[in-house]
């Protein structure tokens, strides 16, 4: 069938839509495309404008993206900006089941926390038929959900910020997690699960208090994540000053030379098009 199709056109390129081998045109492509079978090394071709900016290296830090609340739709953006320092950990693999007519269908749900221990955490949850897929998928989701975490002081503002700036609380389901600033050296006073998340966030000292069914790990982890999300949402006197608006990354790199100057346009008017 394929040969007949090519034969009918008698050597003309098959173009799009023809079935069968591409003849000369198709053969040329063998080197780059099909040779490499490993997915990891596929070069990233950005699909969004933000991705293109990051790929070109125009955006140096992730803070520029956070400042303007731009949606991050490609996880490679995070990889490029803070990827090297990002650590990830699988919190739990939980088998979940669904009843079907033919028995049960078991899938695995993976909870993954990523963070660079310096103010950025992300949480990813993914369910899949295989454990490895679930873990891989949840790492990607976690990278997409990386948020900045605000740290502050308990008392004197000496040294680097080490604790949450104020008392914050986060809720998910029935679980509420409350974080209270702690003096240096207190360490993270929390249960095993939120302790991991807070370590990834880069918070050194904090007192926590939780309520609700903390046995549900999904909700517990999500509640601490929600709590960390709120640290930058809390208005403190430092923010009273009027904001000086910065240029969005899209605006910063306008090509100013693209526009012709008025002088040149004037000269043109002498010539006529017939």
């Amino acid at each position: 069938m394929a040969d007949r199709g090519a034969g009918d056109r008698g050597g003309f390129g098959r173009g799009f839509g023809g079935r069968g081998r591409g003849g000369d045109r198709g053969g040329r492509r063998g080197s780059g495309r099909r040779g490499r079978r490993d997915n990891e090394e596929k070069e990233w071709v950005p699909v969004t404008k933000l991705g293109r900016l990051v790929r070109d290296g125009k955006i140096k830090s992730i803070e520029q993206i956070y400042l303007h609340s731009l949606p991050i739709k490609e996880y490679q953006i995070i990889d490029i900006l803070i990827g090297p320092s990002l650590k990830d950990e699988v919190m739990k693999i939980m088998p979940v089941q669904k009843q079907t007519r033919a028995g049960q269908r078991t899938r695995f749900k993976a909870f993954v926390v990523v963070g660079d221990c310096n103010g950025h955490v992300g949480l990813g949850v993914k369910c899949s038929k295989e454990v490895a897929t679930a873990i891989r998928g949840s790492i990607i989701l976690a990278k997409l959900s990386v948020i900045p975490v605000r740290r502050g002081y308990w008392g004197n503002k000496i040294g680097k910020p080490h604790t949450v700036p104020c008392k914050v609380t986060g809720k998910c389901g029935s679980v509420t997690v409350r974080m209270v600033p702690a003096p240096r050296g207190a360490g993270i006073v929390a249960a095993r699960v939120p302790k991991k998340v807070l370590q990834f966030a880069g918070i050194e000292d904090v007192f926590t208090s939780s309520r609700g069914s903390t046995k549900t790990l999904g909700n517990f982890v999500k509640a601490t994540f929600d709590c960390l999300l709120k640290t930058y949402g809390f208005l403190t006197p430092d923010f009273w000053r009027e904001t000086r608006f910065a240029k969005s990354p899209y605006q910063e790199y306008t090509d100013l030379l693209a526009k012709p100057t008025a002088k040149v346009v004037h000269v043109v008017e002498d010539a006529e098009a017939a």
């Binding site: 799009f16 045109r25 389901g173 549900t216 098009a273």
Partner: protein, 411 residues
């Protein structure tokens, strides 16, 4: 009927029984709320339904100078179009952006003959090419978005235009034999003279001083004058003016589009990684649901996820071709999709239009477009062509293009 109900009731009991016998914690909320008709099955169905094989297009740098000339029937992106029918080019009115009246810029062309295996193959579709043009201004594209939603407008105003041209095997422009693969082939007739600046449209107007340089519009004449013709004009350097390449420096870089079937890549990645990553939203899990709520719109996220998954098999693709009545485009964003009735019927034969191919935003990356606020950015351009590929008169027929933009708002 009653038997079925009984069975269901038993199933319910069985369900609860089974779940509690498991030692794993907190499966209760999972199992109770799961529904039989769950979205996972439906996503599977969607994937099953897509049995139409998709052909992907990739951009590649030009290997030899001659392979993108029109008598080699290329598929290319950027640069100047290799017009299939070199004489009966589109009229000047249709070559302009309807909003800013600038001549449109060549985006890409696809050589897609209808072969024996397709339903609407006839002699006149032995050679068939589709040309996509768009205005490089984002402002026009935003206005175009409003226009494309209008059904039956009196005067269609678009800034993205697609032209279709087809020729039988024996025609007056090319020999009936396939071109030789060594660059020596020549077309039977010289084409119409093209504009010196853009190299795209017919050059009907001439420069008034030297009467040699041709232009398609006053704007291009002005641009060429500014950027060097002013000096060259008086010297009447005809050889330079008549050179093949366009003088404009704002054309998009030229690439050849090479073709691969998508199934070649399917073997490499058997898992559907992405599509279920962000789609687990319907599984009633509190943590996932609240995670989903943080992002804008379940549907948008789901479309984006399945879009990412599909293209991750071959991330460098710029074109997806699947000409079939039931073929569906791969939509990156949920909002802004046309329904059946949004796609107008063919202007020439009145028949329906079907999906033919779509252009992906990776092309913008390869073109190296600027990433300013007002620079060109789209999520996908989907082209619908006449299903019967009607013959009509000679020349180029307009087809319908649908542009989908990324949602501008923050999450």
């Amino acid at each position: 009927m009653s038997k079925e109900m009984e069975f269901d009731a038993n199933e319910e009991k069985l369900k609860t029984l089974r779940v509690s016998s498991l030692d794993e914690e907190e499966d209760d909320n999972e199992a109770q709320v799961d529904e039989i008709d769950d979205p996972d099955l439906s996503t599977d169905e969607d994937e099953e339904g897509e049995v139409h094989p998709v052909t992907l297009g990739f951009v590649e740098k030009l290997k030899n100078k001659w392979s993108l000339l029109r008598h080699y029937f290329p598929s290319k992106a950027g640069g100047t179009p290799a017009w299939l029918d070199p004489i009966n080019l589109p009229s000047e009115k249709s070559s302009l952006c309807d909003f800013c009246s600038e001549p449109l810029q060549f985006l890409l062309q696809v050589y897609g003959p209808l072969t024996e295996e397709s339903t609407f193959h006839h002699e006149s579709t032995f050679h068939r090419a589709l040309f996509v043009f768009m205005c490089p201004s984002m402002a026009c594209l935003l206005r175009d978005q409003h226009e494309q939603w209008k059904r039956h407008p009196e005067k269609p105003c678009r800034s993205v235009k697609v032209f279709r041209c087809q020729l039988p095997q024996t025609n007056s422009f090319y020999s009936g034999k396939p071109p030789s693969e060594d660059g020596t082939e020549q077309p039977l007739t010289a084409g119409a003279k093209l504009c010196n600046w853009c190299g795209t449209w017919k050059g009907d107007k001439v420069c008034s001083s030297c009467r040699k340089a041709r232009y398609c519009s006053g704007k291009h004449q002005a641009a060429h004058w500014r950027s060097g013709h002013r000096l060259a004009c008086t010297r009447l350097q005809t050889s330079l003016e008549m050179s093949e390449s366009a003088a404009s420096n704002s054309l998009w870089p030229q690439y050849e589009i090479t073709i691969e079937d998508e199934c070649e890549f399917e073997n490499e990645m058997s898992d559907s990684e992405y599509s279920n990553i962000l789609v687990s939203g319907n599984r009633v899990d509190e943590s996932v649901r609240s995670l989903m709520d943080d992002f804008a719109g379940d549907d948008d996220k789901r479309s984006w996820a399945s879009f990412q998954e599909r293209i991750s098999r071959a991330p460098e693709q710029v074109l997806r071709y699947c000409r079939s009545a039931k073929a569906k485009a791969l939509w990156p964003v949920h909002s802004g999709r046309p329904s059946r009735s949004d796609i107008p019927a063919c202007n020439y034969c009145g028949g329906t239009r079907c999906f033919e191919f779509q252009v992906l935003p990776q092309l913008l990356y390869y073109f190296g477009v600027q990433n300013d606020v007002d620079s060109l950015d789209w999520a996908t351009i989907v082209v619908y062509t006449c299903e019967a590929s009607c013959k009509g008169d000679e020349g180029y027929k307009e087809e319908f293009a649908w542009v989908q933009l990324v949602s501008q708002s923050a999450p």
